[in-house]
C-alpha cells in the first residue's frame, strides 16, 4: 500500500525544484530586509557600520523628533486591539448564527465580508469621510476611531480564517450534542463553540493586526496618526530611525504570520 507521504512525494516537485523555489522566494523577501537592516547601521555619508541610529532611537536621544513615532506606535497598538475586539465581537456571533440557524445566508455573509477587497482604499475613504464626521461627533476624533474603518478592511481576511475553522469543526453536531446534554445557548457557545473556534479567531486576530500595522492610506486621508503615517513624517527628519521602525514592524508582522502558519499546521495535525 502506498502511504500518503509516498504519494505526495511522487506527485510533488523534486527536492531540487523545492530548494530553488524556496531560495528564490527567500532572496526575494530577505534581500530587501537585509538592505533595510544594512541601511540602519550605516554611518551616514562617511560610510562604515555603526549602531548610533539604534542607540538614538532606543536611548531617547531623539527627543521631540521621535514624538510622532511613539504616538504612532501607541495609536497603532490601540487600533490593533480595538479592531480585533470589534471584528471578533461582530463577526464571530454573526458567523455562528448563520452557520447554525441560517445556512442559506452563508453566501450572502461571505459576499458582504469580501466586498472590501474589491474597493480601493481611496474610494473607501471617500465613502467613509462623511461617516467619520458623524463618528467624530459621537466618539470624538481620536485616532482609535479609525478602528471602525479597519474592521471593514480586515473583514475579508478575518472571515476566511474563521470560516475555515467553522468548516473543519462540525459546529452543528457539537451544538446539538451540547444542547441535548442540557446546555443553554450561552453555555454551548462558551464551553463548546468558542474553544473549538480558538484557532480561527487567533488566525483572524493575527492577520488583522498585520493589516492594521501596515495601513497607511486611510489614516493619511482621514488625517489620523498611526505607525505608517508617523513613519512618513519621521522619515523626512531622520530616515535611519524610520527605517529601523519599518524593519522592526516587518519583523513583527513576519513573526505574526509565522505564528499563523504554525496554528494552521497544528490544526491540520490535530485533525489528522
Amino acid at each position: 500500500m502506498t502511504s500518503s507521504a509516498d504519494a505526495t512525494s511522487a506527485i510533488g516537485p523534486s527536492a531540487l525544484t523545492r530548494t530553488i523555489v524556496l531560495s528564490a522566494a527567500g532572496l526575494f523577501l530577505g534581500l530587501p530586509l537585509f538592505a533595510l537592516g544594512a541601511f540602519t547601521v550605516r554611518g551616514g555619508l562617511a560610510g562604515g557600520v555603526t549602531l548610533i541610529h539604534w542607540r538614538d532611537l532606543f536611548g531617547g536621544n531623539l527627543g521631540a523628533a521621535a514624538q510622532p513615532l511613539w504616538e504612532g506606535v501607541q495609536n497603532s497598538i490601540l487600533l490593533a486591539i480595538v479592531t480585533v475586539a470589534v471584528m471578533l465581537a461582530l463577526l464571530v456571533p454573526a458567523m455562528i448564527l448563520v452557520r447554525l440557524h441560517l445556512p442559506r445566508m452563508v453566501r450572502v455573509l461571505e459576499f458582504i465580508c469580501l466586498i472590501p477587497l474589491t474597493i480601493p482604499a481611496v474610494a473607501l475613504v471617500v465613502g467613509l469621510a462623511p461617516v467619520f464626521s458623524v463618528v467624530a461627533r459621537i466618539f470624538g476624533s481620536g485616532s482609535w476611531t479609525l478602528a471602525f474603518a479597519y474592521v471593514i478592511i480586515t473583514l475579508p481576511y478575518a472571515y476566511r480564517s474563521i470560516q475555515a475553522n467553522l468548516v473543519a469543526v462540525d459546529v452543528v453536531t457539537l451544538t446539538e450534542a451540547a444542547r441535548s446534554l442540557g446546555a443553554s445557548w450561552f453555555s454551548t457557545i462558551k464551553d463548546v463553540i468558542l474553544p473549538n473556534l480558538r484557532r480561527g479567531m487567533l488566525a483572524a486576530s493575527f492577520i488583522s493586526v498585520a493589516v492594521v500595522l501596515g495601513e497607511y492610506a486611510i489614516a493619511s486621508l482621514l488625517s489620523r496618526t498611526n505607525l505608517q503615517t508617523a513613519l512618513v513624517l519621521v522619515s523626512k527628519r531622520d530616515p535611519y530611525v524610520s527605517n529601523i521602525v519599518v524593519l522592526l514592524s516587518l519583523v513583527l508582522v513576519l513573526i505574526l504570520l509565522f505564528a499563523l502558519g504554525r496554528i494552521g499546521t497544528r490544526s491540520r495535525r490535530s485533525r489528522s
Binding site: 462540525d170 450534542a177 444542547r179 441535548s180 446534554l181 453555555s187 463548546v192 473549538n196 495535525r269
Partner: protein, 368 residues
Amino acid sequence: MTTLTAPAETPATPATPIEALMPTVPARAATVEMIDVVKDYGNSRALSGFTLSMRPGELVALLGPSGCGKTTALRTLAGLTPITSGTIKVDGEAVAHLPTNKRDMGMVFQSYSLFPHMTAMQNVEYGLRMRKVSKDERRERAAEMLAAVGLEALGHRYAHELSGGQQQRVALARALVTRPSVLLLDEPLSALDAKVRVELRELIRRIQTDLQITTLFVTHDQEEALAMADRVAVMSDGVIRQIGTPEELYSSPTSAFVADFVGLSNHVPGTLEGRTISAYGTRFELLGDDLPDGDVVALVRPEDVTFSPDGVPSTVLTSSFLGSMRRTTVRLDDNVILTIQHDAADARTPGSRAHITFSGRPVSAQAR
C-alpha cells in the same frame, strides 16, 4: 508534536450490570407519545401525521429507506427540529414547546460528536456539569459510566486519540450519565466497521436493558433493527407503515412495502380472488388490506420456497454458501426468478435442473 494513533478497539464489554455500577441514581423509564406529528420543510412534508407510542423501558427502532422521515421524527422528539403540528408527550406531559436542553433526553449522533477540546472523562461529565452536580459526584459517576462502556482506562484521552468505536462508546456514556428519561440513537453505528458495529450494538442493547431506559433508535439497517429492537416501526413517506415485534414484521407484513423492505422477498406472479392468491398451483392467504381481484404479485420469503421433486421445474442460476445455510437462485421456465433459502448441505450446481414448491404460508401482495 507527536500525533497519537487511535488504538485498537477494547474488545470485551464489561459483565457487571450497569445498575450495580450506578446504585445512587434511580432508574427512569418514561412513556413517549408522538401523536399526529407533522413537519414541513417549505413545500416538502417530512412527517405526515407521524404517530408512535413507546412503553417505559422499550427500545423501538425506526426503520426505513433514506428520506422516509425517520431522522426527522427522532429530531422532533429531541427538540432539535420544531414540529409544524401535532403533540409530543413524555410521561404524559407535552414537551413540544420545550427547547432541547429542557427535554431531559440523551442523544448519540451518527457522526462522532465528542467535544474535541475535552477528554473522554470531561465529555462524559459535561451533562452533569450542566445540571450543577458537584465535582466529586461528577467524577465518580462519569468514571462509573466509562467503566460501563469498557473505557475506564481511556478517560484521559481526547477524541482524536480514540477509535471510531471508542468515540461512540464515550458518546453513549455521555448520553446516559445524566440518566435521561429517553435515549435517542441516530444511526450511531453506521460509521463503524462491521465487527465493531456488532459489538457496540450488543453493548447498547445490554445497557438499555439494564437501565430500562426508553430508547428510540433510528437505522436504515434492517438487520440492526431486527436484532436490537423490542419493536420495529417501518416508515415511508413520513408515516409508520407498520409497527410490531421483529417476528411480526417478518412473518406477517401487512403491506407489500413492509414485506419488501424487511427481509428478502420473492415476487411471485399470481391471481387474487377474494383473499386467496393462486400461483403455480399453490394457494396463499392474503395478508393486510384487501386488493382488487385480478393479477397480483405475491411476496414470498426465500425460506417459504423449497426444493421438491414434484414441484415447478426451474434452472439453477447461482448457489451461495452462507455458513449455516445456502441461498440458491433459480429461474422458472416462464423466466420468473426466485431465491430459495435452504439447508447448507444441499448444494446445487448452476445450470442444473431443480423443482421447487411453495409452503403456502400467508403472504402480502401488490397489484400487478
